[in-house]
Amino acid sequence: MTEEEWTAVRLSLLVAVTATAASLPFGVAIAWLLARKRFWGKSLLDTLVHLPLIMPPVVTGYLLLILFGKRGPIGAFLDQAFGIVFAFRWTGAALACAVMGFPLMVRTIRLSIEAVDTKLENAAATLGANPLFVFATITLPLCLPGVIAGAILCFAKSMGEFGATITFVSNIPGETQTLPSAIYTLTQVPGGDAAALRLTAVSIAISMAALLGSELLARRVGARRVAT
């Protein structure tokens, strides 16, 4: 493999890991809100979270460009206030991947939180645990396999995200050219087939490794829970 190909692989991993790690706390928090709380605007929040799943990725990417671009309302503010720039940077690719993977992550975690018996949470509360402690010691450990599954789904989605990423941050080698973008570019040039095939193989290998890893992790968590 050439240096450019390795760069694309490394960048893809960096983008996917960043997207997953950065969105996981928000994913868990929103999944918990949707699973356990009743509040005004709940359906609106639910719809908003799911929007990237049902909209064409290009539309999501374009909306990100409008909002988080250098002159977009949020992008301009973040740039001036914190010096955070998303436009045409790998961080922008991570943002696009996080947004696209978010609904998958939230859905999975929400289901696993709903599967935790509220009776156990009530029992913990009568023993003196405040809501945050109940969540940390009872809810989270019991829904951990679901959290892992949600994170893996988001990671896999990030590894494969193409439409929103290329629309938002373009296809700059070394900065925003992730695996799918690199494969797409290679298929557009004569003689790029061999390289495209190599990257495809790498892509498959990473996806399968992620899936296997999550299975093992979930099994270990599950085993710890039923161990006698």
């Binding site: 009776k119 009530n122 029992a123 913990a124 009568t126 010691t137 450990p141 710890r224």
Partner: protein, 356 residues
């Protein structure tokens, strides 16, 4: 401690309106299923917010809807033992036990109280051998004992027990009851005990609150209240002391204010107090002192009241001040011409005994 409850709560078509004060010891909340017992206990624990009313433990207000007070469940220090033990499946027995202790650290209870001390609670409940096990490897009875220990170690001011034995079979119940008795006598924590079993209430309770269709119909000491309980297996409770053992016949003679009772040999020593529970349907009535019958126990008394229910009638007898209930057919009542004030002899076919 005292628990004051005066609440109203409506859920769908069910209306709960309960008002009572519980004194130290075990207060039994007694009633049929659907009477509102569990709802009432959930309200005391803070799991349900009542529509209206006031709850106070030792004068500290937990709920007062008029003044807008509602102490959240995790700040009430009210221990709760659920019917389905609700142990945390991902934690070991030991971790389950100490879960609540963490939050109770700040406020030490008075010295000498066994509640809150890990070793004495483990010893009291006989769970020392289970500490490293996981909840799903425990039997139903073991789970309940661990659940009781977990609640105690959170140093509660009040312990709620919602039919803690209902999900267990007879043998497991017999295994746990002595532990609950030891708890009552040694842990120094007042208990609100929900049950629909007359035998359990007779054995454990100091005070009984009878709940029927969401309303408190009677409150008072167990000996006075239990005979009034409108229950399927109505009966009466007699306080007794062991007078002597009749070794050749393997019998024990008990003294009660109603008279002597002879029962199969008890293991209790002479002088020990026991509580005798006599089911209403195990009592026959005779107008004359019965002669040459097999039953050993005949108490003399007067009919105090008759409550007719269709083909059956519950007769309340006053035997030298003690209440004994008898359940007869309406036909028998008419044949014997029973009426309040009429002297009768109660032939008792069997007595069940619980140590107290």
């Amino acid at each position: 401690m005292s628990l004051e409850v005066d609440i109203q709560h409506t859920r769908g078509a069910f209306r709960l309106a309960a008002r009572f004060t519980a004194e130290p010891g075990v207060t039994a909340l007694f009633g049929h299923s659907g009477a509102g017992k569990s709802t009432l206990v959930d309200i005391v624990a803070g799991l349900i917010k009542p529509d209206r009313g006031r709850i106070a433990v030792d004068g500290q207000v937990l709920v007062d809807t008029e003044r807008g007070v509602f102490v959240p469940k995790h700040r009430r220090r009210v221990g709760y033992v659920f019917q389905d033990s609700r142990l945390f499946p991902h934690l070991s027995v030991q971790q389950n036990l100490v879960y609540g202790r963490w939050f109770a650290r700040g406020d030490r209870q008075q010295d000498g109280a066994a509640a809150g001390n890990f070793d004495s609670v483990v010893e009291l409940l006989g769970i020392g051998a289970l500490l490293d096990r996981r909840p799903d490897s425990l039997s139903g009875g073991e789970k309940q004992r661990v659940a009781i220990g977990r609640a105690l170690l959170a140093r509660p001011r009040l312990l709620l027990m919602d039919e803690p034995l209902a999900s267990l079979d007879e043998a497991r119940r017999a295994e746990i009851l002595p532990y609950v008795e030891r708890l009552r006598d040694h842990a120094g924590v007042p208990i609100l005990y929900v049950s629909h079993s007359v035998a359990e209430v007779a054995r454990l309770a100091t005070t009984v609150v009878i709940l029927s269709e969401g309303k408190v119909t009677a409150v008072g000491p167990v000996l006075d209240i239990l005979p009034l309980a409108d229950s399927g297996d109505g009966g009466s409770v007699l306080d007794a002391t062991v007078a002597r053992h009749d070794e050749p016949f393997q019998l024990t003679v008990l003294d009660t204010i109603a008279g002597e009772l002879q029962v199969p040999r008890l293991s209790a020593p002479v002088g020990a107090s026991v509580r005798a529970y006599i089911r209403a349907r195990d009592v026959m009535l005779s107008l004359h002192q019965p002669q040459e019958i097999s039953a050993l126990n005949v108490l003399s008394g007067k009919v105090a009241a008759i409550a007719a229910k269709g083909a059956q009638a519950d007769i309340r007898l006053d035997c030298n001040g003690a209440i004994v209930m008898a359940r007869l057919t309406a036909k028998s009542v008419e044949r014997l011409a029973l009426a309040p004030g009429r002297p009768v002899h109660a032939v008792i076919k069997s007595v069940s005994f619980e140590r107290s």
